[in-house]
């Protein structure tokens, strides 16, 4: 179970540019490091991150081993309608997790 901190303004005016931020607790193990016993630690990173607004994909990212642990993603969107913004990410172990936040557009 990983944790995520997602941040979306609670309210916005229609047409306003809003900042959306997500920080995900993840080791982002590169796969290039040796463990204390000399054996390579298997790669374990978040591979893909997707953000949807009202069900529609508005942002996605492919992540790579060079990204530090607990990645922080920040991007902007235009507030169009009240609804739910969802975040979804999948890691090397095939685990998909989600988080969401609501926004009221006036």
């Amino acid at each position: 179970m990983t944790r995520a901190l997602v941040n979306v303004p609670k309210t916005a005016k229609r047409g306003e540019v809003i900042e959306i931020r997500a920080m995900i607790q993840h080791v982002m193990e590169t796969g290039y490091r040796e463990g204390p016993n000399g054996v390579m630690i298997p790669r374990h990173i978040i591979k893909r991150f997707v953000c949807k607004y009202g069900g529609e994909e508005i942002f996605s990212a492919e992540l790579f081993p060079a990204i530090a642990a607990n990645p922080f993603l920040s991007f902007s969107a235009v507030a169009s309608e009240s609804g739910t913004i969802t975040f979804e990410w999948t890691d090397d172990k095939g685990e998909t997790q989600t988080a969401s936040a609501d926004i009221t557009v006036t």
Binding site: R3, L5, N7, R21, M23, Q25, N70, F72
Partner: protein, 255 residues
């Protein structure tokens, strides 16, 4: 190289030792880059908040044979744990010596939840400690006034002033005499324990004050104490009184 180190040690030891006057007392925060400061100050970009959030979940999770959560007894942490971390380590009636916050949390786990203690520096113990300490965020450090702590605090001070390791440097030679100067890539801070457990960019994780102290001990090529050792708690007791008045920053961010 060795010669250089020895020279450096001599240069250090010949300097007069002076305690930092309270008007000059500054948190490690003040010595960081504006970017790292911003990362700490904004809770949405402070990775330590991930641990705090997780701690909130653990707080209400039943554990052990007693099937009780922290919340079963302590209810709302924002009220019951407010200010607690700002006055730890405290005197422990059971062992008749100081106990740190992580030790106190483990005590409740063992005696109140009837659960096995969490390992020092385990993610679970760091998570609970970060959550409890976060309830003191922004509050000034107010060391416990209990006179029974005095001799342990003095022992902590003695460790702080003793020359240690192959480099024969004391904590004071860096943190009292040389703060603000550069050591390799980093600025030497005053060494205040205001933000623990904290997120260190170098660790890419949250770690305890003991982990930080371990780093400083290894830095002077001294043998670090075991996690949970009484020496660390005595040193923390001294560091907290030395930092009295500075604000708690848990979860801080450090380079």
């Amino acid at each position: 190289m060795l010669r250089f180190v020895l020279l450096a040690a001599v240069a250090f030891s010949s300097m007069a030792r002076a305690e930092i006057p309270s008007k000059d007392k500054r948190s490690g925060f003040d010595f960081m880059s504006p970017q790292t400061q911003a990362m700490q100050s904004d809770e949405t970009s402070n990775p330590g908040m991930l641990w705090v959030l997780d701690g909130e979940r653990m707080w209400s999770e039943s554990q052990g044979k007693a099937e009780k959560s922290c919340a079963s007894c302590h209810e709302d942490a924002a009220k019951t744990m407010r200010g607690v971390a700002a006055r730890y380590p405290a005197f422990d009636e059971q062992t008749k010596r100081p106990i740190d916050l992580a030790g106190r949390i483990n005590r409740c786990r063992e005696t109140r939840q009837d659960a096995p203690p969490l390992a020092r520096e385990s993610n679970e113990l760091l998570t609970l400690s970060a959550y409890v300490a976060y309830q003191s965020h922004g509050m000034p450090i107010t060391p416990a006034a209990d006179r029974r702590l005095d001799k342990y605090r003095e022992n902590g001070r003695a460790w702080f002033e003793r020359r240690l390791g192959q480099l024969q440097l004391s904590c004071a030679s860096c943190h009292d005499d040389r703060w603000g100067a550069r050591l390799g890539g980093s600025v030497i801070p005053q060494g205040h324990p205001t933000g623990y457990p904290l997120y260190r960019l170098e660790w890419q994780a949250v770690g305890s004050l003991q982990r930080r102290l371990r780093g400083c001990l290894v830095g002077v090529r001294a043998e670090p104490f075991e996690y949970g050792a009484s020496e660390y708690v005595d040193i923390e007791l001294f560091l907290m009184s030395r930092a009295a008045g500075l604000k708690m920053e848990t979860p801080a961010v450090r380079p």
